[in-house]
Amino acid sequence: MNPHFFLLGGSLSQERLAWIEECLKFYFVRLKPEDLLHHTKSHEGVFTFLLTGDALYSLHEPDKARTWEIILALPSVQIICDRQELALRGISVEGLKMKHPDQVLDHNRLGVGGQASFWNDVAKIARQHEQPVPSTIGYLQLDSPYMHRSSLSAVKCLTAALEVHASVEFYAYLDGVHCGHHGQNPTEFDNIGSSLEEICEKAAKRGLSCQMIACSRCAAARGYNTWDDGQGQIVSTCTIKPYRIRNLNEMIDRFAKNHIILGENVASIQMKKDGQTSSFPLEEPGRSPPVTVLITTTPYGTERAFGGVSFAIACAAQGIPTQVIFIEDGVYALAGSHTQETDARLFNLQEVIDAVAGSRNFELFAFQPSLHQRALTKNPKMNAVLDIDMAELGQLLFYPPRGLQSGHRRLIIF
């Protein structure tokens, strides 16, 4: 059976780790109680946590390490650590490995060139999923290069994807569009722009496809759009060659396909029953993987919360079953009454939520424990946003929408 997996590269808070722990407990208690009773262990984890970047610190910090111990006590849970990133940070996972030798792995898979890389493990898992040959692996990039190491993860991930003979797709959203600016010349960092160009060249040499799509709204805001024909074609004189600046809908079209899409903080939840095989064509209605967008940041400090909601609205409009869950600091979007001057260009997020609630394929949820933890109450006008507790979060993640034929659910953390 293919695993559910979480790919986590950003800082992992105790709050996030706690709801992940509770969701896993929900899964085993409600969906796989037999595994709990017999404590079956398989070599391949049912849940695989792929940890890189700052998420690795969670294995070292005492409170978080204790939560990992609880998670590892559940059946068939596996953690694969990015050994290079562990070494860079001077973090040791030996203690955890001694207790759970089969479950905590910090030796990464060898690539074709004989070099071990965490991203070879990631690509193997992403490539394992049911999809036609040749396979495709996508990467959603939300952050700018150099300020954020996630851009390097994107490059390594797509390079590893080519190694497992997968076509690659890079989706640049929000500040992620900066990854494709031409003429990058870092002295202390891998050149992200050149690396993306090299990925496209390698793909072409191997007969694989490579697409790099940047969101036109994000690109326009950042000064990339040199010429717009008014019909969706945008030309920029300041991007690398493979970049195509397109309407968000064109990017979302790719999310309607069934391939695995990775990112700095994402998960893929399997929705097919064991043993079930599928021969549906990719475009069949109901075949698009449902998307769950977690809004985890405050509403106005960065573009992330609005970007996440906007992304979710676009998914729903394209016919993808979409859930938005306000969780962690994301619940600030729902608290109090947000007001601004009538001629302000900035969207009032509460007005947006109120306006789009009830749209087809679109559901909104507020994670009550996050509200309680912050001593917040939801604005009563936000009644279209349904309150959910820990068990209901588990249901939302693991129960497929009725009539859905997709193999997995995409979970994207904004």
């Binding site: 709204r217 906007s310 409009a317 969207f347 947006v352 789009v356 749209s359």
Partner: protein, 82 residues
Amino acid sequence: MTGKHTNIPDFSDLTCTNLMIRLKMLLKKTPPGVPVACYVRRDQRDTIEVPFSRSGYEVTVQKADTHRFRVSLTKKVPEMDL
């Protein structure tokens, strides 16, 4: 935002998702049966026409000039069950 008529907004500079958000916010404040009109580009027209007509709105589109269209959306008044 300027339109041919000062009271009809020109949304042709908005991306499709933001246009949808903006229209939904306007429609939310407008009673059923009262139209909301705006000017949009050709590609925006395509984005509006199908989703809104599928979700309880009457959509009319008139060509304003080569690349611009005047779109009018009216929320249908729910029929009474007899």
